[in-house]
């Protein structure tokens, strides 16, 4: 290690463009490394930039051998792809992380309290803090969840909160994911790969470990066991191999040492859930389900669903099994409810929100709608009941025709859309696909999805999934839309 370079950070060469009006995660406006970034800059970007391409090639080979893949919906053939990996890690210094961690903990606790309330006493609706009609009219509001009381009141065991960093360097919440958030397996695998590629750099930097996540998740799941059973049987319920996150289901169940099951592996008998095994039926106490609510129980939801377990809703009501995340959690991550999340934090915790949210306009309000439609090309328009970046219109990048269509769709069903000003996502040095031109790496937009485990203890996985938009200027980082990922380093000091 070159101690000199760390204690006395050198600016990056002029070939790297520091864009004005964007927050660069690694360099300040004087082109000097930000806190915690000096060692990575010195070792990886300044000393041996030509090595980066080789690192990426080796990383791709490792991912392929490990079988770390995902599916893209809407692609006919060859649906398994590796998630493009960028070898330049994203570094978050300890002080910044401490603030984020507090904000995330607060937020997920409040969202959980909201779900508990909405399906219970409904105090927040009576007090008019969140409009009752907005909640009841939301497709994610699940009547079948009314009156459910999961152990310890935990509806949200796993949350993935999408954060973006604005030009001011502050983190903002872009959206919450409290149904079946995915991506954590990439966090763990990215670290495995990075540790193999750059063992000395990882060690010398003092990067906080992420390898405990599966054990922590299992502990949170076990806490949900009905009647506080001490050694509960836990299983992971997957919709099967065609799901975009199937790899993750395999990975997590393997890491936790629990069974990976599909709906047809389970059966309800006398309002208890059993796994069919070669030794007969074995009762399941906790199901980590990665299936959407609608498909979980054909008795209550879609009678045509073959993915779920008939009778599981009654088994949950009988208190014989717990599911994580609980039923109906989608009400808390609906994009229309999102505008009310700061009020939700204040209402349940009596605290000021530590994490601000991206300004969000609800288009059912005629005045707001008029304001947004006037300058539609300056907003991001999102449908309120879809996920994965499908159907999102980014005003400044949209064609005239796309804007006209968006306007018509909004006027037809204003309740189905929200608008947010275009957030200039922060950028991070990222290795380019082809290296002719300025240099081997250039700034690309990134976001961050940290993972929060709620239970008796609330745990935030240090770091999270940094997704990067590989195309120049692109703001969409979803893996299904051509994004890649980076290892995210939270430093111990």
């Amino acid at each position: 290690m070159n101690a000199q370079a760390v204690s006395n950070p050198v600016p990056i060469s002029d070939a790297y463009r520091i864009a004005s009006g964007l927050f660069d995660e690694m360099f300040d406006l004087e082109r000097r490394p930000r806190p915690g970034c000096a060692r990575v800059v010195a070792d990886l970007l300044v000393r041996e930039p030509d090595r980066l391409a080789e690192l990426r090639t080796r990383a791709d080979g490792m991912f392929l051998r490990m079988g770390v893949t995902f599916n893209v919906y809407g692609m006919e053939e060859g649906s398994e792809k590796i998630f493009p990996f960028d070898p330049i890690p994203r570094v978050i210094d300890a002080a910044t992380w401490a603030n984020l961690e507090a904000g995330l903990t607060q937020r997920v606790r409040a969202l959980n309290a909201f779900i508990q309330d909405v399906y219970g006493a409904g105090e927040i609706l009576k007090d008019g803090v969140v409009p009752r009609d907005l909640v009841l009219g939301c497709p994610q509001y699940l009547r079948a969840a009314v009156g459910l009381t999961p152990p310890h009141g935990t509806f949200v065991t796993v949350a993935g909160i999408d954060l973006v960093r604005g030009a001011d360097g502050r983190f903002y919440v872009l959206e919450d994911n409290v149904r079946t958030p995915s991506g954590v397996s990439y966090v763990i695998q990215n670290r495995v790969v990075m540790t193999r590629l750059l063992p000395d750099l990882v060690r010398a930097s003092g990067v906080r470990s992420v390898e405990n996540y599966p054990a922590d998740l299992l502990e949170s799941l076990c806490e949900l066991a009905p009647g506080g059973k001490s050694r509960p049987k836990v299983a992971l319920l997957t919709p099967g191999i065609y799901n975009s996150a199937f790899f993750e289901h395999v990975f997590l169940s393997h890491q936790m040492g629990i069974d990976l099951v599909e709906g047809h592996d389970l059966v309800c008998v006398d309002h208890k859930v059993f796994m069919k095994t070669v030794h007969g039926l074995q009762q399941v106490d906790v199901l980590y389900r990665r299936i959407d609510d609608d498909f979980l129980d054909p008795v209550v939801f879609r009678p045509d669903s073959l993915l779920g377990v008939a009778g599981i809703t009654a088994a949950i009501r009988a208190g014989n099994v717990s599911v994580a995340n609980g039923f109906g959690t989608g009400i808390a991550d609906d994009k229309a409810i999102f505008a009310y999340t700061p009020a939700i934090v204040r209402y349940y915790l009596n605290e000021e929100p530590l994490l601000p949210i991206v300004e969000t306009h609800i288009l059912s309000d005629p005045d707001v709608r008029r304001m947004v439609l006037r300058d539609l090309d300056r907003y991001v328009v999102k449908p309120t009941n879809a996920s994965g970046g499908y159907g999102v219109i980014i005003g400044p990048k949209a064609t005239y025709r796309e804007l006209i269509e968006a306007r018509e769709a909004i006027e037809r069903e204003p309740n189905h859309f929200i608008a947010q000003p275009v957030v200039q996502l922060s950028v991070h040095p990222t290795l380019l696909g082809d290296t002719n031109g300025a240099g081997p790496f250039a700034p690309r937009h990134v976001d961050l999805r940290p993972f929060v485990l709620l239970g008796k203890k609330t745990r935030v996985l240090p770091g999270g999934l940094t997704r990067v938009a590989l195309r120049e200027g692109s703001l969409i980082v979803n893996s299904s839309q051509g994004g890649g990922s980076k290892d995210t380093w939270v430093l111990e000091r």
């Binding site: 079948a144 059966v267 309800c268 006398d270 054909p298």
Partner: protein
Amino acid sequence: MIYRIRHTTHFIYDKPAYESHNEVRVAPRTSPNQRCLSFDLEVTPKAAVLAYDDSFKNRVHAISVHPPHDELTIVATSVVERLAPRPSTPLRVPFGEFLAEDAARSAEHFEFLHPSKFVPFSERLRKFFWSARPAPTETVVEYTMRIVRYVRDQFEYEKDKTHVHSGVDDILSAGGGVCQDFAHLTIGLLRLAGVPARYVSGYLAPRAGVASDYADQASHAWIEVLLPGTGWTGFDPTLRSRTTDHHIRIAIGRDYSDVPPLRGVYRSAGSNGEMQVELSIQREGEPEPEVLRAQMQNQSQQ
């Protein structure tokens, strides 16, 4: 008036059924003019039964039968005291005035003012509403009474034109239907006018010595309307009238999809499950009347 009700649902399968899971809504609700004095549910073969209240406070029984069985019988026996509805005089609020306070009502009674699964605000329904819409001077109760009669004047009671999963568009195109369809259509016309309306499933007790026109309907359906001043008030669009002490309430919801008497799935190697429903409603002190029978298909095979 006290009624003894015996509601039997009987399934016969051509090949054994197994892993059968059903939810039934057959327990009469206790409400201002009705008390459920006793309720008993008997399932053959032996089954695990879990009772809970749904989001509309209807009593639901979840029934789980795991081993193979050729037949499944669910017998619900209840004793219900039904009082005559108290005479009430709703406030005479004209629509112009009524709609001025629409915003608050819209939040409080959202679920009974908005489209629901079987009552979508379709183009067809909107057109039908346009021809019957209230004038600003018409009072809410006048409009309600007019609509309750209007729907039955326009549509015949016809058994086979619609089915259990029909929505408002089906009765509008079929030109006729049964109590469920009349209820859905009336609810649609009320909701479009901004009047909260909900669906009620229940039993219609036959009048002594009077043969009912609707004897083939084991179960009946009507509506309740939130009228200014009197609160939720029952109307029977099939009979063109207010509800009486012959209407026994079981469950309320946005439409039929919230309150089916039975919903469930089972597995079987066979292809046919036949459902028979028998209903006997006996007024205390009178001889047991003829049992009403109907056949339906309400379980899905997995």
